[in-house]
Structures are given as structure tokens and as C-alpha cells.
């Protein structure tokens, strides 16, 4: 009979409207996001988690609205004469609303999946965990809404709760982010917020996935929060309401113990996503499995770059591989035998840039990744670093440096860059070669020297 009442509630309460609203409006948001940058399943799943900043307050408000139904419909009088205890009466409502918000969340994901699915070459099973935890997180939202709405049955409660939720969930992360001192990496407790996944750190890529421990800790915390919401909603006495806070307090305490110290530690490379897919013949050119379709586009410029490097420099690398790491945050020595390159891909996963632009990328810094901490370095220091890298590429290719190696190749570079290039070309040929080789060595070793000084400075290469 209770099952039958749940079915009635699913059809006749606000549950179907809430589910439809989340699926349609949330689906539209995720469609716009996915259509702008379809970067595979994990990025889609994480992007949806970030929308929880809006979905959570929505579920809170919907719960509070539903909780007022008995009063709104003047049913309190009749209900007060029925024997059914409060928990039994309101449980079907709680179940129906929970199914509605979970259904809405999954419907929303289905919209994004319809776009990402046909384009993604790699399906990481871990991304489904991110979706599942996100869907689960909607349950405490709607149950806390029901609890607060039933304790404060004012017509103002739902809108105030929703607005306060948006304010809290959008402001709280900002505070946590600014409070964190370690170069934009907030504390692990940020993971207690439903809205914060990893996209906020700017480091989330399709190559990462959350650790199992992160998922389990979040599930634990969210389940505790859901227990508090449900217990508070079904509570019939003041004492029961107070006792309802116990699970949330325990859950928070446990979660804080289990969460990593820093948000970035919650995410690790997805070994399936970064597995190399390589050319069968030498010289070896590899991309990640995620970007397998880009291998054809990379092969030509990659081999051209290797040929140029071996012709012009004494010790040249022998292979090219896609760079899946966020190297600008990871200041460490690099391996000399492989040229790493960031591959930008189209929606269909093919190389987004024409071959000659990829060639410039490959030869920047004479075939090295920039070893400079973008968060710590001064603006002028960064400019000198990248100017030197560009001049090195221009010297290898034998063309004047373009303004922006990632953009318009026809516009000339700024005055300082052109001047550096001219200065380099004015040196004796062996000196030119020695200086570019020295720049390459310095960047590979990550020794922190001034690259422009190495290339065109008075001291010369060492």
C-alpha cells in the first residue's frame, strides 16, 4: 500500500514537475556547455557537478515548497485526525521527491551524453562514478528542503531558501579558493560542497579522474546529510529534530578526516585515458587514447619537427608524444628524447590546428615544454621566457617569428621578439647553433636560467 502511495505521489505531487524542470533547464545548460567544449565523458560529468551550484538551491526550494503542501491545501485539519504517525505519512513524499531530483539529474546528463557520446573515442567508467555521486547529492538537497520547509512553513521559505542556497554555494567556494595559499589549490574540505568538483581549479582535463577515496568520502558525507534531512523532515518532536543533526555532524567529522589535504590530490590521471596510441613505424609519434583520432593529423608535423631538430641540433629527440599533464603547474626536468606537445582537437577528436601551426608548437623552445611556474613568475619574466622560446622555433624553422604562435601567423611579432631574432641571426652560425642547443638544455633541465639571456645575451651559452 505504501508503494501505491509512492506511485500516487510520483504522479500527483510536485515531483514530476521538478524532475522535468531539472532535466529540461539543466539539460539546456549542459547542452550549451557540452556543445561549446565536448571534451569527453569525464569533463561532461564534472561540468554537470559544477552546475550543482544552481541545482542544489533549486532542489532545496522545491523541497521546501512541497513540504508546505498540507498547509497550502488546508489538509492539516483532516490529517491531524488520522492515526498514521508523521514519519509514515511523509515518507512517500520524501521518496517521490528524491526519485524526481535523481531522475532529473540523470535526464540532464542524458542530454549531454547525447552530444558527447558519438564524439568520444574513450569511455572512462570512472566518469559514471562522478555522475552517480552528483545524482546522489541531489537527495540531501531535496530532503533538507523538505525538512526546512516543514519546520518553517512560510510562503517565503522556498524562495528565500533557494536564493540563500545560490548565494552560499557560489560564495562559499570563492572564500575557500581565496583563503587557500598554495597557488590556487584549495583545501580538500572544498569537496564537502556539492558544487565543487575540479573544474574550478582550472586543472580538470579529460585525462583526470577522481580517486575512489574521494568518491567514497563524498558518498559518506552526502548520505549522512541525506539522513539528517530525512530524519528532520519525518521528526514528530523537537527532540527528534535535534537528534536529526547527529548524522550530519558525524558525517562531516569523518569526511574531514578522510578527505585529502588539497583539492588537487582528489584527482589522479586516468590510466585508461592517457594510455598511448602510437604510430607503428619509426620515428614514434604517440597521442593519448582519448585523442586517438588526432594521430593522423599529428604524424606529419611531428616527423617534420624531429627531422628539423636532428638536422640542426647536436643531440636531437627521437619521438613525439602528446602532453596530457598540466606542465605549467608541474615544474620539473623533462626527458630529452621525447618532444611533448599539447594537442588541441576538434569536436570529432581530430587535430584542430593546421600542420604548420602544430610545427611551431612542437619546435617552441627547441622542442621542449615551457619550464616556468605561471602562478609565481613575474609578468616580464614570463614574456622574456616565451619570447626566447618563440625565437628558438623561428630559428629552427627559418622564418621570422609570428606574433602569436597559437593564433594569427601572418602578423609580425612584437618589436622585442623580432629584435631578438635579428640579434641571434647576426651571430656566427656555430654560435647560433650552440645558443639554441643551450636554451634547449636549460629548459630540459629546468634550471631557471633566463632563456633570452642564453639566446642573445652578452655572456653567450654555457
Amino acid at each position: 500500500m505504501t508503494g501505491r502511495v509512492v506511485r500516487i505521489e510520483l504522479r500527483r505531487s510536485d515531483a514530476p514537475w521538478v524532475a522535468a524542470f531539472i532535466a529540461v533547464v539543466g539539460g539546456a545548460m549542459i547542452y550549451l556547455g557540452a556543445a561549446r567544449s565536448p571534451h569527453g565523458w569525464t569533463v561532461l560529468a564534472v561540468g554537470q557537478r559544477d552546475l550543482l551550484g544552481l541545482l542544489w538551491p533549486l532542489a532545496l526550494g522545491a523541497g521546501a515548497w512541497q513540504a508546505r503542501r498540507e498547509r497550502r491545501r488546508r489538509m492539516e485539519e483532516l490529517i491531524s485526525t488520522t492515526p498514521s504517525p508523521r514519519w509514515r505519512r511523509v515518507l512517500p513524499t520524501a521518496v517521490a521527491m528524491a526519485l524526481a531530483v535523481v531522475g532529473g539529474y540523470l535526464g540532464m546528463f542524458a542530454v549531454g551524453a547525447g552530444y558527447v557520446g558519438p564524439l568520444a573515442s574513450y569511455f572512462p567508467i570512472g566518469s559514471m562514478w562522478i555522475v552517480a555521486v552528483g545524482a546522489l547529492s541531489m537527495v540531501p538537497a531535496v530532503w533538507l528542503g523538505l525538512a526546512i520547509g516543514s519546520r518553517l512553513p512560510s510562503a517565503l521559505t522556498p524562495p528565500v531558501l533557494a536564493i540563500a542556497g545560490v548565494a552560499a554555494l557560489l560564495v562559499a567556494p570563492e572564500i575557500l579558493f581565496h583563503a587557500s595559499q598554495s597557488g590556487g589549490d584549495p583545501p580538500g574540505t572544498t569537496l564537502l560542497l556539492p558544487s565543487v568538483a575540479a573544474a574550478r581549479t582550472g586543472t580538470m582535463t579529460e585525462f583526470l579522474t577522481a580517486t575512489a577515496r574521494t568518491h567514497l568520502t563524498q558518498v559518506l558525507w552526502l548520505a549522512a546529510l541525506a539522513a539528517t534531512g530525512l530524519a528532520c523532515f519525518t521528526a514528530a518532536s523537537r527532540r527528534a529534530v535535534v537528534a536529526a543533526f547527529l548524522p550530519a555532524v558525524l558525517g562531516a567529522a569523518l569526511a574531514v578526516l578522510l578527505l585529502p589535504g588539497r583539492l588537487s590530490a582528489a584527482y589522479v590521471f586516468d590510466q585508461g585515458a592517457i594510455a598511448p596510441v602510437c604510430t607503428a613505424d619509426a620515428p614514434k609519434v604517440c597521442v593519448t587514447r582519448t585523442h586517438a583520432a588526432a594521430l593522423d593529423g599529428l604524424r606529419g608535423p611531428a616527423r617534420q619537427a624531429l627531422a628539423i631538430l636532428s638536422a640542426k641540433l647536436p643531440t636531437a629527440p627521437t619521438s613525439v608524444a602528446e602532453d596530457y599533464g598540466s606542465t605549467h603547474l608541474d615544474v620539473q626536468p623533462q626527458r630529452a628524447h621525447t618532444v611533448l606537445v599539447t594537442v588541441r582537437v576538434t569536436d570529432a577528436g581530430r587535430t584542430a590546428d593546421p600542420p604548420h601551426e602544430i610545427l611551431w608548437d612542437l619546435l617552441a623552445g627547441a622542442g621542449t615544454r615551457p619550464c616556468v611556474d605561471v602562478n609565481q613568475a613575474q609578468r616580464e619574466q614570463l614574456a622574456r621566457h616565451f619570447r626566447a622560446r618563440l625565437v628558438a622555433a623561428a630559428w629552427l624553422i627559418g622564418q621570422p617569428p609570428p606574433a602569436d604562435p597559437g593564433g594569427n601567423k601572418d602578423r609580425p611579432a612584437d618589436h622585442e621578439t623580432l629584435q631578438a631574432w635579428e640579434t641571434l641571426r647576426g651571430l656566427p652560425a656555430t654560435e647560433q647553433r650552440a645558443r639554441v642547443a643551450a636554451l634547449r638544455r636549460s629548459e630540459l633541465a629546468c634550471d631557471g636560467r633566463d632563456l633570452l639571456d642564453i639566446l642573445v645575451g652578452q655572456g653567450g651559452p654555457r
Partner: protein
């Protein structure tokens, strides 16, 4: 489908009256709306008459266990109703139509009556049959699967009575049940009351004197929080013999009793 009776129902009764009140005092807000009322009712249909503000609705709400009495004693089915008693068993055998009948507009009639049956903790296997029977009895069988919000005023009132009788209550409390019913529906409703009278204690609070005379075994008249008359419908009619206000003997009796009572109250002061 026949209803299976629980052991409690077939056990011999150990109380004299289904509803018994002595010096009952019930507050409605700040006002003592029921003030020192004596009452004893068994099976049958009891009509509760009285002017607006007499305390009829407050009395019905107290009997429905919505309001707790602040003085005197109240016993329902022999069980005293006070602050400490668990009302769960009692509430399972009460049917109640509030004066202001709230409902969920998106529910169908059947779903709504089913929902109330579930709240009254009826055994699940009995519910579908009981719901169908209650809906049929109120002449709503053809509208059973329509949403509540599509019903007219009279149909809503009948749906309200259907939910009140779905659990075959031993105490049925109907506050203004005939409001909005057309003449034919009122005739059907009176027939239903007579049918229920055999084994149920039905209390019908109403303004309509003729409904009480036609369908009730017993008439009670309330004024200013107290019972001022109790008797058979014929006694009410007899009280108004001779000229006076009202179009029927019963209405004349009603007016005469109230007038006499108020005059006595004036004299006493």
C-alpha cells in the same frame, strides 16, 4: 466485498456510550467555545443544530481529536481523551469531514480516498474494495478517476463524505455535509445516514433543520457553548406548536427553544 472485522470490533463493548462528555470545556482560540457541555451518544444519527458561533464546529473538532479539551471529561468508545492517551487506535475508527474540507487538487477522487484510507492505517488488501464502496455510495463512481480539481462544489462535498466513511468508522463526524448538495443528492445523503445509523454513531452538524428532522434519530440544539435541547425530531416539532418564526414545525420549534432558553438566561442574570 465484505469487510473483515478486527478482534477489537467483535469484542463485547465495555462502555455505555460511544461518545460521552461531562462538563466539557473546549477552547477555540481565546474563546471558550464549548463551556460545560454534557453529552452521551450511542449508535444512531445525531443532528447538531445551533446558530453561528454556538460552538458546534468546536465540539465536532474536539470529538475528532483535533482539539484537546481544557476541562471536563471526554470519552470516545469508552476511552478517555486527555493529554496522555495514545489516540492511534481511536483515530483508526473515526471518520471526519471538516467544515473546511481541504484536498489535493491533482489527486483523482479514487487516489484521494485511497490516500485517506492509507492514513487511517486500513489493512492494504481491504483498501481498493473499501474505496470503491465509499465512492459508489456517494454516487461518484463515474467520476472516480477524475482529478479532484475538476469536481463541482457538491461533488467535492460528496468526495469529502466518501473519505470520511472509507474506513467504516464507528464514530462519523460530519460538519456541514449537505452544503452544496442539490435536493436529489440530499435525499440520497439522508438515505445513507439512515443506513449508517444501525451500527455507527453519526454526528451531523448543520444549519439545515429539515435535514435533521428527515434523517436523524436524535436532535441536539446548542447555544453559547452548551446543549439547550435534546430529543427526537418529533419533540423539536412539538416545541414550536402555535404561531411563531419559521416555515415548518421543526423550524418553529428550533426558534422557540432558542428564544425560551435565552429568555431564561436573561432572567437568571
Amino acid at each position: 466485498m465484505a469487510r473483515t472485522a478486527g478482534a477489537a470490533e467483535t469484542a463485547p463493548t465495555t462502555y455505555a456510550w460511544t461518545i460521552q462528555a461531562e462538563r466539557l470545556r473546549v477552547r477555540a482560540g481565546r474563546r471558550m467555545a464549548v463551556d460545560g457541555l454534557h453529552l452521551a451518544m450511542g449508535s444512531g444519527v445525531h443532528g447538531l443544530l445551533g446558530p453561528n458561533g454556538a460552538g458546534k464546529t468546536t465540539l465536532v473538532r474536539a470529538l475528532a481529536t483535533v482539539l484537546r479539551p481544557v476541562g471536563g471529561t471526554l470519552a470516545l468508545l469508552g476511552q478517555p481523551v486527555n493529554g496522555r492517551v495514545d489516540l492511534r487506535k481511536l483515530r483508526q475508527v473515526i471518520g471526519y469531514l471538516p467544515q473546511e474540507f481541504g484536498f489535493y487538487p491533482r489527486f483523482t477522487v479514487r487516489e484521494f480516498v485511497e490516500y485517506i484510507a492509507w492514513l487511517k492505517e486500513m489493512p492494504a488488501p481491504e483498501v481498493p474494495g473499501a474505496v470503491q464502496r465509499a465512492v459508489e455510495r456517494m454516487g461518484l463512481a463515474d467520476r472516480a478517476d477524475d482529478r479532484m480539481k475538476t469536481l463541482s462544489g457538491g461533488m467535492l462535498r460528496r468526495a469529502g463524505i466518501a473519505q470520511a466513511i472509507v474506513n467504516d468508522p464507528q464514530i462519523l463526524l460530519l460538519d456541514e455535509p449537505t452544503a452544496g448538495l442539490d435536493p436529489e443528492q440530499r435525499l440520497q445523503f439522508r438515505a445513507l445516514l439512515r443506513e449508517l445509523a444501525a451500527d455507527t454513531c453519526v454526528l451531523v452538524s448543520t444549519h439545515l433543520v429539515e435535514d435533521v428532522v428527515a434523517a436523524c434519530t436524535d436532535v441536539m440544539l446548542m447555544d453559547a457553548g452548551r446543549l439547550v435541547f435534546r430529543g427526537a425530531p418529533a419533540d423539536l416539532e412539538a416545541a414550536g406548536s402555535g404561531p411563531g418564526d419559521g416555515d415548518s414545525p421543526a423550524e418553529r420549534g428550533y426558534a422557540a427553544i432558542l428564544r425560551r432558553h435565552r429568555e431564561q438566561a436573561e432572567d437568571a442574570r
